[in-house]
């Protein structure tokens, strides 16, 4: 534990691995640090690996959730900066999934000395179509998504309970499942969804001062390939790599390929 156990506790920060350089992994909307379980461990041999949950997600201290603070992504940016301060991170590699790519970018604009590189998985600066910009979604479609979030949380709670029952003979596994991905508080999830999907940070892209890698799935309905290309074109020192896959979570569906692309990119640094 550091000198500021408050932040470590608040954001359920987990530090592992060996290495002088740090990789900090930031989960996307609706999930928590468990989504990195098949990718982060691959870097533990060469890097100090930092995992955490945003306030309101996973095993974070939910009592620290402040509706006003987390109304926009800046509340989450502050979470990242607080962790960087507590761990005294410098020149870290920030790995962000989905909305966390933008959170990482905003954090790097505010505190450039903390980050040496950004790795963005499925990023989007703006989900709404704002012609000529193509974000992928019309407004009512995003409202439809919020509506689905509203209508689903009861079902999940039931699903989790059933799974715990099924693993009675392995209590430790049952416990892990209970706190598994997507166990976010429904009210918080809704606010996070609104902060994420109705945001527009396109103007921030040109300000990027830290080199970045964009990992894009060839067929991603959440962050379409055209959006990844837009990011790449508007950010200085950015690289884009496409994984031939459908989906928005290549680190879950194609962990090996994702790790390989990240390693390859990290190899070109130094």
């Amino acid at each position: 534990m550091g000198q500021h156990p408050k932040i470590t506790h608040r954001n359920n920060v987990k530090v592992s691995g060996n290495g002088s350089k740090t990789m900090i992994f930031a989960h996307g909307f609706g999930c928590d640090q468990n989504m990195w379980r098949w990718t982060a461990s691959a870097f533990e041999q060469d890097y100090q690996v930092v995992l955490f949950d945003y306030v309101g997600s996973g095993k974070s201290d939910i009592s620290q959730y402040d509706q006003e603070k987390y109304e926009s992504l800046h509340g989450y940016v502050q979470d990242v900066l607080d962790i960087c301060d507590e761990l005294q991170l410098e020149d870290a590699i920030f790995v962000g999934h989905s909305v966390s790519s933008i959170i990482g970018l905003l954090a790097s604009l505010e505190r450039p000395q903390c980050f040496s590189n950004l790795i963005m998985i499925g990023p989007s600066p703006c989900y709404l179509n704002k012609p000529p910009y193509y974000g992928g979604f019309e407004e009512e479609e995003l409202h439809g998504l919020i509506d689905l979030l509203d209508k689903n949380y009861i079902g999940w709670a039931k699903g989790f309970a059933a799974m715990v029952m099924a693993n009675e003979d392995q209590p430790s596994l049952a416990e892990e499942l209970m706190i598994s991905i997507c166990s976010t508080d429904p009210v918080i999830a809704r606010q996070f969804a609104i902060a994420t999907f109705f945001s527009d940070y396109r103007q921030e892209l040109a300000k990027a001062s830290v080199p970045s890698l964009i990992i894009q799935c060839s067929d991603d309905v959440v962050a379409p390939k055209a959006v990844g290309e837009y990011m790449h074109q508007n950010m200085r020192d950015s690289l884009i790599r496409v994984i031939d896959a459908a989906g928005h979570c290549p680190h879950l569906s194609h962990p090996d390929q994702t790790v390989e692309l990240m390693r390859e990119y990290l190899g070109t640094l130094d």
Binding site: E138, E141, D150, M163, A246
Partner: protein
């Protein structure tokens, strides 16, 4: 696919881990209006509305990969023509012939969804109401806080007021003492004997008496009652007293004295914005050499002369109180007396407490005047004990 599954009363889908459709049953095809060949090897997104596609990317696929099982997830299917069908999805992920497949059961849920929508609407209303209540509560707490601060302030002010009242009371007591001291001191000699009583209602009195030896054998007396009680009446009576002392020492006549007092009252209230204090008074001289009493009674209760034969003569008022009308003409009256009688001067506070008959009987008593005074005072005290509000009282008993 076996016939039972193909015709089961629910939709069935088998997906690859990537979400590509491996097989689909006839129930689902008929529900959505697709042909089997439209869907095989296409992504599941083909069957979903756009919000549901994102939702599946965010939740369905990550969840199924982690937990290998999904229960009661809700999203919307889309018919070939575009029409939306809300559905519940149950899914399992397991290995089949070496690769992971996802098997899904889909149940349309039009009516249940309506019900859920209602519940959600109610929840949102309740949440809004709760929020409003919380805000109202916050507002109330603020008001309460302010109220407590106000109350504190009031308590402080009240304390200040009490201190102020305490001070005022001390001042009034002092003023009352001064007023008492300023009254003439009764005396006796071979010609005349004076006994006096003076009691203010509560704080300061508008009653006043004074006497003075004008020349050997000649004495001047005044008794007056300024309308009302309290500070203003007391100040007026004090100012009249000073004037009286000055005038009588200068040897002013009875008419001059009364006229000057009258003028003084008018002067006092010249700029009084209509406020007027009037005053009833008797000025009286006793000349023991000529055995003559001269007096002017302006609106005051009659002075009583009790002769040696106990016959009572009243020196009644002949003019209105002073301080009301300008240009009053004062004319003194005279009375020749015989030695051995006594004179009783009083303010109306005395006759309010003791009836005229009783008073007449008391002053007639064949006793020394100090004994009579004690009796009258005794009656006044009795009245004070039962009285709710008492007037200022004073009287003079003079024996010649």
């Amino acid at each position: 696919m076996d016939r039972q599954l193909d015709e089961a009363p629910c939709g069935f889908l088998m997906l690859s881990d990537n979400g590509n459709i491996l097989s689909v049953n006839r129930t689902l095809l008929e529900l959505l209006g697709f042909d089997r060949y439209d869907l095989i090897n296409k992504h599941m997104n083909q069957l979903l509305t756009k919000p549901s596609r994102i939702f599946c990317q965010l939740y369905f696929f990550p969840l199924i990969r982690h937990e290998n099982k999904i229960e009661e997830m809700h999203f919307s299917l889309q018919k070939k023509g575009g029409e939306e069908i809300p559905a519940l999805i149950f899914a399992n992920r397991h290995k089949k012939e070496g690769v992971f497949v996802i098997e899904c059961v889909l149940v349309p849920m039009h009516q249940r969804l309506e019900f859920e929508s209602e519940i959600l609407k109610a929840r949102n209303i309740a949440a809004a109401a709760l929020k409003e209540a919380a805000e109202t509560n916050k507002e109330l707490e603020k008001v309460l806080c302010e109220l407590q601060a106000k109350q504190k302030e009031l308590i402080k002010l009240n304390k200040q007021k009490e201190q102020y009242q305490e001070r005022i009371k001390r001042e009034l007591d002092l003023a009352k003492n001064i007023q008492g001291i300023s009254l003439s001191t009764p005396f006796s000699n071979e010609e005349i004997s004076i006994s006096a009583y003076y009691q203010s209602s509560n704080e300061l009195s508008g009653d006043m008496y004074s006497f003075y030896q004008i020349s050997p054998g000649k004495y001047g007396f005044i008794i007056l009652d300024v309308m009302g009680h309290g500070i203003s009446s007391a100040l007026i009576s004090m100012s009249l007293r000073s004037l009286f002392q000055l005038l009588i020492m200068k040897g002013a006549t009875a008419e001059e004295i009364m006229a000057e007092l009258d003028t003084q009252l008018h002067l006092l209230f010249r700029n009084g914005d209509g406020i007027k204090h009037y005053c009833t008074a008797i000025f009286l001289t006793i000349d023991t050499n000529t055995k003559e009493i001269e007096y002017i009674n302006a609106g005051h209760p009659p002075a009583l002369w009790i002769g040696r034969d106990t016959e009572i003569t009243e020196f009644k008022s002949t003019i209105p109180p002073i301080g009301i009308f300008e240009d009053l003409t004062f004319r003194k009256s005279s009375f020749a007396y015989q030695e051995g009688g006594r004179l009783f001067l009083y303010t109306d506070g005395v006759t309010e407490a003791i009836s005229a008959n009783t008073l007449n009987l008391l002053v007639k008593e064949q006793e020394p005047i100090h004994a009579i005074k004690e009796k009258i005072v005794h009656f006044l005290k009795l009245d004070e004990e039962i009285g709710i509000k008492v007037d200022d009282r004073c009287f003079l008993l003079i024996e010649v």
